[in-house]
Symmetry: C2
Subunit: 160 residues, 2 copies
C-alpha cells in the first residue's frame, strides 16, 4: 500500500517556515522535503487558500506563515489537505446486495470508524507550536536558524 505522506511533509515544512525570519522559497522547502518545488507549491497553495500561509512572488519572495502556530492543530492541517483517507483497508462494495457482505461491512466499518476517531482526536490534541517545542528541546541551546538557503536537506537541523 502506497501511503499518502502529504500531511507528514507539510507539517515538516511548516515547522521550518516557523524558524525562518523571512519568506522561504518553494525551492528551499523542496530541498528540505527532498522533493520537487512544484509539489511544495501544490500543497501550500491549498493551505494559502485557507489562510494558513501567504506567498509572495519575485525577488525576496516565498512562503510565510499567516497564523500563530499555537492556534493550529494537526487536525486543522489534516482538514486543510481535504481530509485524506486514513484507513488503508476498505470494503469491496460500499452498498452490497448480499446480506452476508452487509454484515461484514457493518462490523468492519465500526472498527474503522473507531480507529479514525482515535486518530483524529489525537490530531486535535497537538498544536504545531508543541511540535516546534519538541524540536527545540532536542537542539543545543541558543541554536538559531542561520541560513535559509542551506544546500543539503534541512541544513543545520540534520543530525549527521
Amino acid at each position: 500500500m502506497k501511503r499518502d505522506s502529504r500531511l507528514s511533509g507539510v507539517l515538516h515544512i511548516l515547522l521550518h517556515m516557523s524558524r525562518a525570519d523571512g519568506p522561504v522559497t518553494s525551492d528551499a522547502l523542496s530541498r528540505m522535503m527532498q522533493t520537487n518545488p512544484v509539489v511544495v507549491r501544490r500543497i501550500l497553495s491549498g493551505l494559502r487558500k485557507q489562510g494558513f500561509v501567504v506567498s509572495e512572488k519575485g525577488h525576496g519572495g516565498g512562503w510565510r506563515l499567516a497564523r500563530d502556530l499555537r492556534t493550529v492543530t494537526l487536525h486543522d492541517i489534516y482538514v486543510a489537505l481535504d481530509r485524506p483517507a486514513i484507513i488503508a483497508m476498505g470494503n469491496r462494495s460500499e452498498s452490497p446486495d448480499c446480506l452476508v457482505e452487509q454484515a461484514v461491512n457493518t462490523a468492519m466499518d465500526q472498527a474503522f470508524q473507531d480507529a479514525e476517531a482515535v486518530l483524529l482526536a489525537r490530531f486535535r490534541e497537538v498544536t504545531l507550536a508543541e511540535l516546534s517545542e519538541d524540536v527545540r528541546q532536542h537542539l543545543p541551546d541558543h541554536h538559531l536558524y542561520r541560513d535559509k538557503e542551506q544546500i543539503h536537506g534541512c541544513g543545520e537541523y540534520d543530525d549527521v
Copy 2:
C-alpha cells in the same frame, strides 16, 4: 488512496462457506465476491497454509472450513493475510536526519499506533460466528443455503 479489500472479501466468502454443506469451488466463491477465481485461490491458499480452510481437487472438490468459526476472530484472519497495512498515511522518511522531521514523525506515529491498536482490539473482539449470527438475524426464518451453484452474485442472500 487505493484500499486493500482482501480482508473484507475473504470474510465474506468464509461466511458463505460456513453456510454451505459441502465444498464450495473458487469459481462459485469468485461469483459471490464478484472477482476472478484465481484471486480467490490466491487469498485462500494463504489461509489453507495456516489451517483455516482445506481444499480438494477434482470432481466434488472445492474449499471447506477447517475450524469452528466460534474460535476464529477478525484479528486471526487479518494476521493470516500477513497483516496488511491499516493506516493510509505515512511519513516521508522513516528515519530522517532532520530533527524537525523526527519530531513530526514521532507525533504522527504515536497517533497512528493508537488508532491501529483500537482497530486491532476491535478485530480481536469479533468472531466469525458472531458475524454469521448477525446475518441469520436479518434473514427470514428457516432460510437455508439451497444451491451452492447460484449464478448471480450471492444468490438467495441478495437483497434484490
